[in-house]
């Protein structure tokens, strides 16, 4: 027991995210606003993070949404969060799937206080995915379907493919 109480929580990443969310809760009046801000921040991060990802991984262009899902789960999540969510619950049309996270490094040791029941604590992840995929010409809708912080058994992120974004080429180029 004395071993436990004398250890440092060395997860800088988790604590920094927690401080970010705490700061937002102070800045904004309600959980809905904080959720929006997390999504927006995530988006801003995602549009830049994709460059880092493409530079460091050796993945080429994905041919379909299924490949995209695999890359997100097996390469991206592994690279940045050290976890590999499972890809499940594909829609019949193949345009929607779920990422099931057994663990989420963002929420280690986190408990939501009672007055923040509407907070989607990890909503930044949705924005990151949305922003990153937009940069590779995919418009997607991302949201949390289940969240262990809010009492669900698992954490589930639902991703839906909306449309392909046409690349804008400068006039005169092929």
């Amino acid at each position: 027991l004395s071993q436990q109480t004398n250890t440092l929580n060395s997860e800088l990443f988790t604590l920094t995210y927690g401080a970010l969310v705490t700061q937002l809760c102070k800045d904004y009046e309600n959980d809905e606003e904080v959720n929006k801000q997390l999504d927006k921040m995530g988006y801003n991060i995602g549009v830049r993070l994709i460059e880092d990802f493409l530079a460091r991984s050796s993945v080429g262009r994905c041919h379909d949404f299924r490949e995209t899902a695999d890359v997100i789960a097996k390469v991206a999540f592994k690279m940045y969060l050290g976890i590999t969510p499972s890809v499940t619950n594909w829609s019949p049309a193949g345009d929607e799937f779920s990422l099931i996270l057994e663990s989420n490094p963002l929420v280690d040791f986190v408990e939501l206080p009672d007055n923040h029941s509407g907070l989607v604590y990890s909503n930044l992840l949705c924005g990151v995915l949305r922003g990153a995929l937009e940069m590779v010409q995919m418009a997607v809708d991302v949201k949390f379907a289940q969240d262990t912080l809010r009492g669900d058994n698992v954490t589930e992120i639902r991703m839906k493919f909306i449309k392909r974004i046409e690349e804008n080429l400068p006039a005169g180029e092929e």
């Binding site: 004398n6 250890t7 440092l8 060395s10 990443f13 969060l81 050290g82």
Partner: protein, 152 residues
Amino acid sequence: VAGLAVFNRKMSVIHFFLKENGRCITRLENMGFRVGQGLIERFTKDTARFKDELDVMKFICKDFWTSVFKKQIDNLRTNHQGIYVLQDNKFRLLTQMSAGKQYLEHAPRYLAFTCGMVRGGLSNLGVKSIVTAEVSVMPACKVKFGFLQKLK
């Protein structure tokens, strides 16, 4: 080795977190303070454990810094009058950035955050301090501490 790769990637993402928090140095320092407190939170406030300032500094420089940044500091100096300067020649929050304009614009954020973190950690150990930091040559960082009270 895989663990360190993920750790480095997380450091990059922390950059993004901090950039998204605006340029207000006080705000970033406060965020760091909260992080520092969290890092020490489950560590018992057993003041008998620390005989004097040097003991606290050793803890910060060895256990704290190594645990958080996965590497040891490179130098610790003191003027024997309550001021300590810690030096990390390859500071993890700076190694992800190349030298140049990008550093000039963003380094103050990372330093403010780090100062807050150390100050918060010390605070949870029962020590009030003033902490400042500077970058001498990228990616080397110097953190200067002044203890605001004597340890009993």
